[in-house]
Assembly symmetry: C2
Homo-oligomer: 445 residues x 2
């Protein structure tokens, strides 16, 4: 049993719907107690210390401790092609993405990039992610192996795509079904790992493949469905051509049985009102990926609509690397704020922080395991230096604040100005992570 | 006389109008020769070395050397209030900006923040900026003194505002005229410093004050005019109310004689076609400030319209700290790219780099002094590590490229992923800058 002392902040409710008093929990001088990687207690230092008088305590003075961040949409094989110039979605896929993903048939290579990607995530304070691999099961194995070696709570899946892609990247409806089934048996619930059935998007799957994806969800009722939805105007028009009998984009997935409370849809920029309603009804999740949506010129996500109290939809934040331009969920929140401002809405620091902690956990149906410091949860957490760089230090002058209002202001500055330098430490199941040396860029050919 | 060896890139023309061949100059192994802070020669290492065989050479292996960046719009007193939450322009001014600027009546304080701001600029590779101070001449003196101590080419001016602001921040038409005149005598052409007549924006000046600003431009024909223009929808409506007899926002300035080839207008988000035409005709400059325009939700600047070949307008890039969210012109270019993508246009890496080097110099009518490595120009330059962070190193694998096309790709990644960490060194007049220690955040009360 061990303890960590510092300022702790987490959520016990959703600040999109509840007041700060009802949603935010803040201990300016708190103590977190952990045993075997599981949280035993969190509270004011003086109170908790009295209950556990003999534990050894690591004291993070002047630091803010948060639950590990949760990234609800990322492509690990696109790490090396981040910031590919000049295209919008469909051209970008053909020009940059498909040729890059081809390399991931080779497992050795895939392991190197998986290691690099996980190091970047951890360095940026992200401890759980929902991850696309490639069409090659080797790449899925590579990712899960690296994640297991690090004891991470990760969700991933092999991409299913049997049309409208280069031959070298295509599977078939049948092979994708078989390979996915094998991977589920191998990796789902293996240590902390979970599986997501992952058709890339409607345009690259035949109806037969989508139907078989739906069948997998029936056979394995606790795996996830992870795909893309309604990102780009040209894409939506193409889906309409490809599936003329469907009423809208979401309906393509719905007819295959892919719209459920374990479904995560990335983007949803161009959604109609009918699709928003259906997502709410099905209790599905949208992953909001602002840096990607801006980088590809896809448009502005209607976060306010998605989080409407009348027809709420679960929302998480996603980096969407490599169309996203940062591994940092702080930087992602920065651009999420800007996307909201452009629409005349205010994304508060607590709302943004909720999206990457408890909100992300709810978006991935992992609220029982991660997302805040409740007793019994897995102890993935991060230590933040609110004054990590000179400008941040000037903006966030003074000691760690005592009030929720003041810490909210500091967190807002952290999101606008911070990046990986503000993440002092990342802990997985109560153990401090050291970056691996296996993944230095120069060793990756 | 001294030499610097490395890969050099600069511009000899405008890549918005000319081909890369006609606009970009690239020496993968180049030599720059400097005497008394002035550039004597730039060319291939082997060629230039033959002409200057005995000079001592600093070799920046695997580094890219660029002209110092030029920031065409920044408020130094807003440094400490960067990332102020939740408001759009007019409310943001009243809630955060005015109370902050009040502190700058005290010169000692203003000097500390000026020093901090200049250190941030230099650390981010910015060697020249067009700067607003506050209504207090003390703050203008403070900024100019700190800039002179560092031998910098800087343009600044006292803010003129005689209405629609708190009493503690108001001058009068007459006092602003007198104070500005004194400051021009004191600072314009003092070492490398230049003066900009700076009415804040039309709403905070009476017509009398604007007229007197115009009179100053007549009396001192080589000073600048620096103000804000058409940033926010509510602001534009307000200007219409305040100046019902003017045909549009720009016309308010035009009637006071403020629209000329030395005028720099920040933002111009909501400009009408008539205003674009008039700016082109007058050869005025717009400062495009993407991080600020997104942060305040002001909107998307029509860069493509401003840079139209038929009616071209000079454009520079501005951080607009404190409404802008970064001192880095790399990060500013990142968001400039996104603003263009959202409008279906591609901002190329060379176009973006032009805006912060030669384009910025042209925007400020300083092409004779700075902006590229032409013989006779002032030797302000920066040394870039294209592999400064692991992710950037992975994306920009391999040696410094030999071709313009490849270096363009690396520069694009630098703009998307880079920040102050990618700026290895900043040189002013051929001398390497060390950050001052006078401005650590904890010493600023």
């Amino acid at each position: 049993m061990k303890g960590f002392r510092g300022a702790f902040l987490d959520f016990i409710g959703d600040p999109f719907y509840l007041s700060e008093l009802e949603s935010v929990r803040y201990f300016p001088d708190g103590l977190l107690v952990i045993e075997n990687g599981i949280i035993q207690a969190l509270g004011n230092y003086v109170d908790i210390c009295a209950i556990y008088p003999n534990i050894s305590v690591t004291h993070y003075r002047d630091r803010l401790i948060l639950p590990g961040f949760i990234d609800t949409h990322i492509h690990f094989p696109q790490t090396e092609m981040i910031s590919a110039y000049g295209e919008q979605l469909l051209e970008w896929l053909n020009k940059y993405t498909f040729p890059t993903e081809r390399k991931f048939k080779e497992k050795t290579y895939a392991k190197k990039i998986a290691a690099f990607c996980l190091d970047e995530l951890l360095k940026n304070g992200t401890t759980t992610a929902l991850v696309l691999t490639t069409v090659f099961p080797e790449s899925t194995d590579a990712f899960f192996e690296e994640a297991r070696d690090r004891n991470l709570r990760m969700i991933a899946g092999k991409v299913m795509m049997d049309r409208n892609a280069p031959d070298y990247l295509k599977d078939t409806a049948k092979s994708s079904y078989e390979e996915t089934k094998n991977l589920i048996h191998k990796w789902h619930q293996n240590d902390r790992l979970l599986y997501a059935v992952t058709p890339r998007f409607a345009a690259t799957s035949t109806e037969e493949q989508l139907q078989l994806a739906g069948q997998l969800l029936q056979e394995f009722p606790d795996v996830y469905l992870h795909t893309h939805l309604s990102e780009n105007v040209k894409e939506v028009a193409w889906i309409k051509e490809l599936f003329p009998h469907c009423t809208n984009y979401l309906d393509v997935y719905d007819r295959a049985g892919l719209v459920c409370d374990r479904s995560i849809f990335a983007h949803g920029i161009q959604l109609s009102e009918a699709e928003f309603k259906r997502l709410s009804e099905a209790n599905s999740t949208i992953s909001f990926c602002p840096t990607s949506n801006l980088f590809l010129g896809s448009g502005l996500f209607k976060l306010n609509r998605a989080k409407s109290p009348e027809e709420p939809i679960k929302v998480g934040l996603g980096t969407d690397v490599g169309a996203g331009t940062s591994f940092s969920l702080l930087q992602t929140a920065n651009e999420g704020y800007k996307v909201s401002q452009l629409q005349g809405h205010k994304l508060s620091p607590f709302q943004a922080l909720f999206l990457v902690t408890l909100g992300g956990a709810r978006a991935l149906n992992l609220e029982e395991k991660i997302g805040n410091f409740d007793k019994g949860k897995e102890a993935d957490f991060i230590v933040i230096n609110l004054q990590a760089m000179p400008l941040l230090a000037l903006r966030n002058r003074g000691e760690i604040p005592k009030t929720v209002e003041e810490i909210g202001d500091r967190i807002f500055a952290l999101m606008m100005l911070g990046d990986d330098r503000a993440i002092s430490e990342t802990y997985i199941l109560g153990d401090r992570v050291s970056p691996s040396v296996s993944s230095t860029p120069n060793t990756i050919q």
